[in-house]
């Protein structure tokens, strides 16, 4: 088990290096640099420009810059944001809980609806429910996030007035210190009346928007995996015992059908964090996604680079964890190690 972990971790090192190199180069392919973006309409003298560039090390050969950055990263130094002058790691950690909160809610939304929907569709294969559900799933999967978000804001917030348009909590009515960074927990801790409900109301739309694509993927995967498993001999054995259909489908079949679904859930963590970039921008959600978009606009090289590296390491770790959970579901894998 321990050796398996070590081997998997060792495999991530080349991935990580390649990722670092590619993002480093890509960021610098965007026209303009941090100083040009900031100089404003009045301009800046060429001497001052060169001086500032020298200060930030931007006049160095690009490979030298990369080597310096990699050396820093190796020592746990993510650099300092060019704009705010705060350490990148600190900025990331301040904003990250907001993204995690949103992602967890979206993933729960996707799993709690997607898995049952897929199971029901599979057990009523070919019926009206199955066909309409899979049609909806295909629609959800193909839906552009930004468009879907805007439509929901228009209908739910603007026309019906059910949910707030943006942000995490109504700051005019509720103010309390951030303890954990998770608004749902902080609002409960604050003890302010109505604060928790307000936080929930703020979460609804972003959760739906971010969860739609994973929901569609999970529902479709669960359905096809279930259809396969329902044909298996052991499902027939379970029915031959005279078990009620919910036990046959919900216990005997589902446990086996979940194995590929867990893979998909793990993979969707990556797309969740990517989707968070758009969703956070639409809903002015103060998380790392919105921060990354702003950093692109400011050509804040260290912030961008650090943010991408941190997010990708999280995705790698999550995928590793998903691999480990296979053993929990499937005893054949557990014993093979």
């Amino acid at each position: 088990m321990f050796r398996f972990l070590l081997r998997r971790l060792a495999l991530t090192v080349p991935t990580f290096l390649a990722l670092m190199f590619v993002t480093f180069m890509m960021i610098r392919l965007v026209p303009g640099d941090p100083i040009e973006v900031r100089r404003g309409e009045r301009g800046i003298s060429p001497e001052r420009l060169a001086e500032l560039r020298h200060e930030m090390g931007l006049d160095q050969p690009i490979l030298k810059q990369f080597a310096d950055y990699a050396w820093g990263l190796l020592h746990g130094d993510f650099g300092v944001s060019i704009i705010t002058k705060n350490p990148v790691l600190q900025e990331f950690l301040t904003l990250f809980p907001a993204t995690v909160e949103l992602s967890i809610c979206a993933l729960l939304f996707a799993i709690l609806i997607g898995v049952p929907a897929g199971v029901i569709a599979a057990s009523r294969r070919g019926g009206v429910y199955d066909q309409s559900l899979m049609g909806l799933a295909l629609t959800g999967y193909s839906m552009p996030i930004f468009w879907w978000g805007l439509i929901l804001i228009l209908v739910m917030s603007n026309t019906l007035g059910l949910t707030p348009v943006s942000g995490r909590v109504d700051l005019i009515n509720y103010y309390y210190p951030s303890v954990t960074g998770f608004m749902l927990i902080d609002s409960l801790l604050s003890g302010e009346k109505g604060a928790f409900l307000d936080a929930v109301r703020h979460l609804i739309l972003p959760t739906i928007v971010l969860g739609t694509v994973p929901l569609a993927v999970i529902a479709r995967m669960t359905r096809s995996s279930m259809l396969e498993v329902l044909e298996e001999d052991y499902v027939r054995t379970a029915r031959a015992k005279g078990l009620a259909p919910y036990r046959v489908i919900g216990i005997h079949a589902l446990r086996n059908a979940l194995i590929p679904v867990v893979t998909v859930i793990g993979l969707s963590v990556g797309s969740l964090l990517a989707g968070a970039v758009l969703t956070e921008t639409i809903f002015s959600w103060p998380g790392v996604g919105k921060w990354l978009i702003e950093s692109i606009g400011r050509r804040d090289y260290p912030a961008l680079q650090g943010g991408i590296m941190l997010i990708s390491s999280i995705v790698i770790v999550v995928n590793l964890l998903v691999d480990l959970t296979y053993g929990l579901i499937n005893p054949r894998i557990r014993h093979a190690r």
Partner: protein
């Protein structure tokens, strides 16, 4: 009253090109304490007719029967929930592939006690005690530790023993064994058959043994029903069947037994069981039958009441085809 009574059972499957008839007007009865063997090639509808009794066919199947009674209760007429109280308790079934018939995700003990939990009024300790007792009964060593094994940690023969233990856990009155030894090694085959027969003798349950091996039939059964292409072509007590088969198909099957062969080459039946698209007009066996005439090819054969219900125009008696015009005219 018979334990299981089936009259004119027909099973059809909906396919992309219409209905396919897998079982065609089959009738038989099983009594308590009796071993009935159902013999036939692959595709002769043996398993399907038994799965129809269990209610385990997929949703594409349509089951009709004039009568399908278990202990006098109409299986087809009753509701699904009511039928589930009989299935797994009074009628149990074991299958061909022990390795894939047990759920790979659950321990043997869990799967073994599940039927007890559903049908019997037992608490957890009683169920576990019963599970140990069952495993011991089917000859599994160290049953207490085996309860915590997963199916992939046991051999095929062991898994089939677990399947048998599972099937007899609620003391069924009828056990259906669908080719229980086909997937196993030859040495294990005999052990499993002996075990099934011993349990049958000890408990007095009825046993339906589906097989394609005449050798297994000779060793185990009391009565034999021979099926071909979804139809029952003959039924006889085992002794009579081996001594004097009445249907040419039964005779050909027996002639193909290695023990009976007296030529250098083992005799075989040419051709294959007809499928959905090459179903003959008259007798279904006529394309492969050595005795077939024009009559056989065009007219559905009658059931010969006195000769084992043989479905044949020219039933055999002591090796002679009664009423047959002779080989020359047949061609």
């Amino acid at each position: 009253m018979s334990l299981l009574e089936i009259q004119n059972l027909t099973v059809e499957f909906k396919t992309g090109s219409g209905w396919f008839r897998a079982v065609d007007g089959v009738s038989f009865t099983v009594d308590a304490r009796e071993v009935l063997a159902i013999v036939g090639e692959s595709g002769s509808g043996k398993s399907v007719s038994m799965l129809a009794v269990m209610g385990l066919l997929p949703w594409t199947a349509k089951v009709t029967a004039d009568r399908m009674h278990f202990e006098g209760r109409d299986l087809l007429g009753m509701g699904k929930a009511e039928r589930r109280k009989i299935i797994g308790k009074d009628i149990a079934m074991i299958f061909q592939e022990p390795m894939s018939s047990l759920n790979p995700c659950f321990k043997v003990g869990y799967q073994l006690t599940e039927a007890l939990k559903t049908h019997m009024n037992m608490d957890k300790a009683q169920r576990n005690a019963r599970a140990v007792e069952l495993l011991r009964q089917v000859g599994i060593p160290a049953p207490e530790t085996r309860l915590n094994s997963y199916p992939h940690q046991l051999s095929g023969g062991m898994n089939q023993r677990v399947m048998i233990a599972m099937a007899i856990s609620c003391n069924p009155k009828l056990l259906i064994a669908d080719e229980p030894t086909t997937a196993l090694d030859v040495t294990i085959q005999a052990q499993i058959l002996d075990l099934l027969l011993k349990i049958q003798r000890d408990t007095g349950m009825g046993l339906v043994l589906i097989t394609h091996s005449m050798g297994v039939v000779a060793e185990t059964a009391e009565r034999v029903s021979v099926q071909y292409a979804g139809q029952k072509v003959e039924e006889q007590p085992v002794k009579g069947l081996f001594k004097d088969p009445h249907h040419p198909y039964t005779a050909a099957l027996l002639a193909a037994l290695p023990e009976r062969a007296h030529m250098k080459r083992l005799p075989s039946i040419p051709g294959m069981v007809p499928g959905q698209f090459d179903r003959p007009q008259g007798c279904l066996f006529s394309p492969r039958c050595a005795y077939a005439t024009q009559l056989c090819r065009t007219q559905v054969p009658p059931q010969q009441k006195d000769l084992g219900n043989a479905l044949c125009h020219y039933p055999l008696k002591d090796g002679v085809a009664l009423g047959h015009p002779g080989k020359e005219k047949a061609a």
